[in-house]
C-alpha cells in the first residue's frame, strides 16, 4: 500500500502534525537548550522550526528519519541564533539539511533519554514520585526529605529504591542497548 504512517515524511494534515509535535517538542527544546542555555528562548526557536517544517512539508520529501531531521534542524537553528544573536533575517533554508541522517545516530540520545525519564517519573505512584523528585530534582538529602514530609528516613530510602528500580526497568531498552530507539511511550495530550 502506498500509504505511509511512519516517520519518513512530514504529516500533511494538522492532526498528525500535532501528534508529531507533541511527541518531540520537549526533546527538541532540550537540544536547543544545549547551546542557548535559556529555556524560553529555546522554546521560541523550536516553535520556529516546527512552523518552518509545517510550511515546507510539501518540499520535504522522503527523509530517512524525520525525528533526526527535525533535531538536526533545531540544533542548527540554535547554533545560528547563538552566532547571530538575533532572529530576524534568519534563512530557514540552510537549517534543513539533506545530508544522510544516519550520521546523527546517538547525537541526541541524552535529550531523548531525559524526556523519557521525565515521563517515566510521571508514572510513579504519587507519594513515591514526590519523594523521588525531592532527592532527584531538588537535591535534598534523605534526612531533609524525611523532615520535610514528616516521614521516616527508612521510608524515604525505600521509596527512592522503588523509584530507581521502576525507572531502570521502564527505560531498559534505552539505557542498556544505548541506541537511539524511538520509544513509544504513551502520547501525552
Amino acid at each position: 500500500m502506498k500509504r505511509n504512517f511512519g516517520l519518513t515524511c512530514v504529516p500533511s494534515d494538522e492532526e498528525r502534525f500535532c501528534l508529531f509535535f507533541k511527541e518531540n517538542y520537549q526533546t527538541a527544546c532540550l537540544i536547543a537548550y544545549r547551546c542557548v542555555k535559556n529555556m524560553d528562548q529555546s522554546e521560541d526557536l523550536v516553535q520556529d522550526v516546527f512552523m518552518a517544517l509545517w510550511e515546507r512539508r510539501e518540499s520535504v520529501q522522503k527523509c530517512i528519519n524525520l525525528k533526526n531531521y527535525l533535531f538536526t534542524a533545531v540544533k542548527n537553528h540554535a547554533l545560528n541564533f547563538i552566532q547571530r544573536e538575533k532572529r530576524e533575517n534568519v534563512s530557514f533554508s540552510d537549517i534543513f539539511t539533506d545530508t544522510p541522517e544516519e550520521d546523527t545516530t546517538g547525537f541526541y540520545d541524552k535529550e531523548v533519554m531525559a524526556v523519557n525519564i521525565l515521563h517515566a517519573i510521571d508514572e510513579l505512584p504519587p507519594q513515591c514520585k514526590k519523594i523521588f523528585n525531592l532527592a532527584y530534582q531538588k537535591d535534598l538529602t534523605y534526612q531533609e526529605i524525611a523532615y520535610k514530609l514528616n516521614i521516616s528516613k527508612n521510608t524515604v530510602k525505600t521509596q527512592i529504591g522503588i523509584a530507581y528500580k521502576s525507572l531502570r526497568f521502564k527505560l531498559n531498552d534505552l539505557i542498556i542497548i544505548g541506541l537511539y530507539i524511538f520509544p513509544t511511550l504513551h502520547p501525552f495530550l
Binding site: 494534515d13 494538522e14 534523605y142 525507572l167 539505557i175
Partner: protein, 327 residues
Amino acid sequence: MNNNEQNKFERLASLFHHEKSDGKKTQNAQQESGITEDSDFSAVKKIYEAKDLVCQASKVTPPGKAWNKVHSRIRRRHPLRNIVYWQYAAAVIAIILTIGLFVGKSVRQYFSDPEQFISIVSPLGEIKNLTLTDGTDVWLNSGSILKFSNRFGKTNRHVIVDGEALFKVVKDNKNPFTVSLGNSKVIVHGTTFNVKGYSTDDKCEVVLIEGSVEYVNSLKKIFIKPGERITEIKASGYLVVDRVDPENYTSWKCGKVYFDNQTLLDLVSLLEKWYDVDFEFANNDVKLYTFTGVINREHTLDYTLQIIEMTNKVKFVKKGEKMLITN
C-alpha cells in the same frame, strides 16, 4: 529474592545520592559499600547523571499548551502562503502572474487576463488541510479536488468540490461562500459543514454542523439546519433531508468513519480511496451486504480487512493487483 533486589536498588540509590548509613553525605561511598558494577549499577548511574537534564526538561512548557501557541501561529499566517506550497501548478500560476506584473504589464491588462482556476488535489490515501485567502478552513478527503478561481478573495468566494470536504467558513453576509457540487450549489451563511460529491458516486450529500446553508439545484432550493443532511440523487435531482449525527460524517478528518448498516459497496469505495487499492466483487449479491461499525484510517489495510472478515459475511482474496471480495 525480591527483597534482595529491592535492597540492591536502595543501596545503589544511596550510593549516588551520597548517603552513608549514618545519614551524612560522603564522596567515597562506592568503595566503602563494595557494590559491584553490573548493568543495574550502570543503569542507575545513567539515570542519576541525567538529572540535571531531566530537571531542564521539566521546565519545558507542556507540549499540549505549546501546540496551541504554534497552532494559532499557523492559523494567523497569511493564508495565501498555505496555498502556494500546496500545489506546484498553483505556485506556477502565482509566479507567472507576479512575473507578468514585474515585466511591466499595465494594471488594466493584468485585470483583463483570463480567469484561471487553481486545483488543490488530495491524492488517494491522504487528507489535506488548507486555509483560503478569506480565512476559510478546508479539509479535503482522499481522492478529492478543490477548485477555485485565481480571483478568489473578498468578493469571489466560490469553490468547486469533486470529492469530500469539510468547511469552516468565515462569516461574511455581504459575500456568501458558495460550493459547487456537480450541477448543484451550496450557498453558505457562515458555518461548518461537510460536503460529499465524488464524481464517481451516484449521489451527493451535505451535512450541516453549525450555521445555515441553502442547497440549490436545477429543480429546488432548500435551507437546512444544523444536524440535518441533504442527499441528492444525481440522476433524478431528487432531494431528501434527514437528521443525522454530524460526528459520524466529519470524523473522517480524524481518520475514523462510522458505518451504520451501510452496504459493502459504500464501505469498499471508501477503502479504495484511503488505501489506493482496487476491489472487485465476485458477484452482485456481495455488494449489498451491510455492515455496522467503525473503521480507523490509522490501521493498515490488512488489519481493516481482517476486522471485516470477522463478521463471517465476506472474504478478501488477493487477485493480481486487485482484491477480490467473495462470500
